[in-house]
């Protein structure tokens, strides 16, 4: 846990605002949010679909939805360098070598027309600077490392010849081929079965331990967060509602949305299981946002000032990993000590 205090952040985003314009609507997908991740650490970004997890994490790298006009403001640094002012060529080099991305759908990363192995080798040659022979060896060893049985044989297979779980492993191998320092996994297990999910999460954890890289896990699956994350940022309608260590956020949540989210997830191992308590209502329409707290319409504790003032993220508790919460109402009502 204290790794974070030893190493500064390797990827850091602050005050990010992302507006997306389609011919019919404009959406504020990210609204003054930020996060950071240090080497050797796993940050989970949690939130419902549409809350802005993907856009916030990948947007600063220039990976944005296609066919949509984008206005992006704020600061983003990778290894201390400002990436928002980089030239497109520098940014694309950084994306290929510094960041590795695993998507929910493996076929969005793999070329269906090419054999698996050569795709990995090409990546290793380009970004890790290996010769053709070295790259082939590296590709086979990456396949093996990603838990693909008989990697020599799988090297010459096409994507459609692999099962869903194997394809996910192949994509992880592809992301690792460039020897990235930040691995971003966007819903890496959502489409997989429970037993295969467990295998993939174990694989990501093992890679992270061995390579000491930073991992960002984007997910709405609290179980996956609990398996992998050191720190958690909870996103609601484009804003960070709460962030802190996984233990603090998952076992002592403060923000009413985080509490509601966790109460809706049953745990059949715990004695104080909450069952399936639901949060009433739905997230706000991000095309017509009201001022104030984004959660106000669904919050049992809402006060008049919640609807007029945006609640600031305030540091609570004195743990070594900062725990921040954007809800002055609970902080005051429960007499939670703040540190800012």
């Amino acid at each position: 846990m204290s790794r974070h205090s030893q190493n500064g952040p390797i990827y850091e985003v602050e005050g990010l605002v992302i507006d997306l314009y389609t011919p019919t609507v404009s959406v504020r997908a990210v609204d003054g949010a930020g996060f950071y991740v240090a080497p050797g650490e796993t940050l989970a970004i949690v939130g419902e679909s549409g809350s802005g997890k993907t856009v916030m994490t990948l947007g600063p790298l220039g990976l944005l939805p296609e066919g949509v006009a984008v206005d992006l403001r704020g600061t983003a640094r990778a290894d201390g360098k400002d990436i928002l002012s980089m030239s497109p060529t520098d940014l694309s080099r950084l994306r290929g070598g510094f960041f590795g991305v695993i998507f929910q759908d493996p076929m969005s990363a793999l070329n269906p027309m090419l054999k698996i192995g050569p795709q990995l080798a090409e990546q290793a040659r380009r970004f890790a600077g290996l010769s053709a022979t070295e790259a082939r060896k590296e590709a086979v060893s990456l396949l093996a490392r990603s838990g693909i049985p008989d990697p020599e044989d799988r090297y010459d297979r096409y994507p459609h010849e692999l099962s869903g779980g194997m394809l996910q492993r192949a994509m992880i191998a592809l992301a690792l081929a460039a020897r990235p320092r930040v691995l971003i996994a966007d819903e890496p297990t959502t489409a997989l079965d429970a037993t295969v999910q467990a295998q993939i999460l174990a694989l990501i954890r093992q890679i992270q331990k061995e390579d000491g890289i930073a991992v960002i896990l984007i997910t709405h699956d609290i179980g996956a967060v609990s398996v992998l994350a050191d720190r958690v940022a909870v996103l609601y309608a484009g804003q960070v509602a709460e962030e802190g260590s996984a233990i603090d956020v998952l076992t002592a949540p403060v923000h009413p949305y985080t509490r509601g989210l966790l109460a809706s997830v049953p745990d059949f191992r715990s004695d104080n299981a909450t069952g399936t308590k639901e949060i009433p209502g739905i997230p706000p329409n991000q095309a017509q946002l009201e001022p104030g707290c984004r959660f106000a319409d669904r919050c049992e504790l809402v006060q008049p000032q919640c609807r007029t003032h945006r609640p600031p993220l305030v540091k609570v508790g004195a743990g070594s990993v900062p725990h921040r919460v954007a809800c002055p109402v609970v902080i005051a009502a429960e007499g939670i000590v703040t540190h800012d």
Binding site: A194, H220, G223, T251, S264, T276, I279, I282
Partner: protein, 328 residues
């Protein structure tokens, strides 16, 4: 859930669904016996491709069976559907995973809900409007959605519309294929609570195919665990989950992470190697033998039959009830 059931709502015997494909015979469902008690909330779980959807579709006749019989509410399903198609359709309804797939893109929510009433000639226009209002109430949707197109609704709202539509003709049995999978966790809780409420309020029998084991444990009265076209284990949901007898059920449950990282950091885990084999060529003997952590030589020769186990249900394993945490 409710009082002791009078009859069983669904009884399937020796059900097989095989598909002839270019690459060979696919044994999607390969000899399933299933009993769903009246008033039960019955969950069907198992990995992708194990035959859940095919089984659910075969129960209601959306998919013809290669072998076996199905009785619904005490009547032979094929006879009933043949001799009284509308009566059968009123009594038994199916909900698809993708709510949009079962709705017309151009119909408003109001039209979508009224259509089954019209087809079955229920009441006059006024009575039908009243029924539609009642249905919206049942699934807790505001009247303002009546004029909207399904596409413009959120995933949870759409699923409510498809549930309301399935309830329009007051069915006794509802079969749902993964009605939760496409939904976010907090919305999942809303919909699953809606199912539980409807089930209690209307005395429905619900069969639900689901991926989310924690939710099945929470809301279902009974559960069937499938593996590669067969039933691996069945029983009362809470008892089976507390004390799974089949190594596959044990592994499946073990794979579900706890949302509490303190529990997650310390609990023992069973990680299965590999993916399930293809239903094109299931292994001889026990179908789980290629991945089973406690496989024995006899497992590869003799297929285990379902037999009674400690939790009161049944499991198809030669070593049922052996605790594999202790063995591996």
């Amino acid at each position: 859930m409710t009082d002791a059931p009078m009859t069983d709502a669904i009884v399937a015997k020796g059900l097989k669904v095989h598909f002839q494909t270019a690459a060979g015979l696919v044994r999607a469902v390969d000899g399933v016996d299933l009993t769903v008690a009246q008033g039960a909330f019955h969950g069907i779980v198992g990995e992708s491709g194990c035959g859940k959807t095919t089984l659910a579709r075969a129960l209601i006749g959306l998919q013809s069976a290669t072998e076996g019989q199905v009785q619904i509410l005490g009547r032979d399903r094929s006879d009933w559907a043949r001799s009284d198609r509308k009566g059968f359709a009123r009594a038994v309804q199916f909900i698809f995973q993708d709510p949009l797939g079962s709705m017309s893109r151009r119909q408003t929510v109001g039209q979508t809900l009224e259509e089954p009433l019209q087809i079955h000639g229920v009441g006059d226009a006024k009575a039908r409007r009243a029924r539609v209002a009642e249905l919206l109430d049942l699934v807790a949707l505001p009247a303002t959605v009546l004029d909207r197109l399904p596409r413009s609704l959120s995933g949870g709202q759409r699923q409510r519309v498809s549930i309301a539509r399935a309830l329009a003709l007051s069915p006794q049995v509802l079969i749902c294929d993964e009605p939760l999978s496409a939904l976010d966790v907090s919305v999942r809780a809303q919909i699953v609570n809606l199912f539980a409420r409807l089930q209690a309020q209307l005395g429905l029998t619900i069969v639900i195919v689901a991926h989310d084991l924690a939710i099945v444990r929470e809301v279902c009265s009974a559960v069937t665990v499938m593996y590669l076209g067969r039933v691996a284990e069945e029983g009362v949901a809470k008892s089976l989950f507390a004390d799974p007898a089949h190594p596959y059920s044990q592994a499946l449950l073990s794979a579900v992470p706890s949302p509490d990282p303190r529990i997650e950091a310390t609990r023992p885990r069973i990680l299965l190697a590999g993916d399930p084999p293809s239903p094109r060529n299931p292994p001889p003997g026990c179908r789980f033998s290629t991945r089973c952590p406690v496989v024995e030589p006899r497992c590869r020769e003799t297929e285990p039959a379902l037999r009674a186990v400690q939790h009161g249900g049944a499991a198809a394993c030669h070593l049922a009830d052996a605790n594999i945490h202790a063995m591996i």
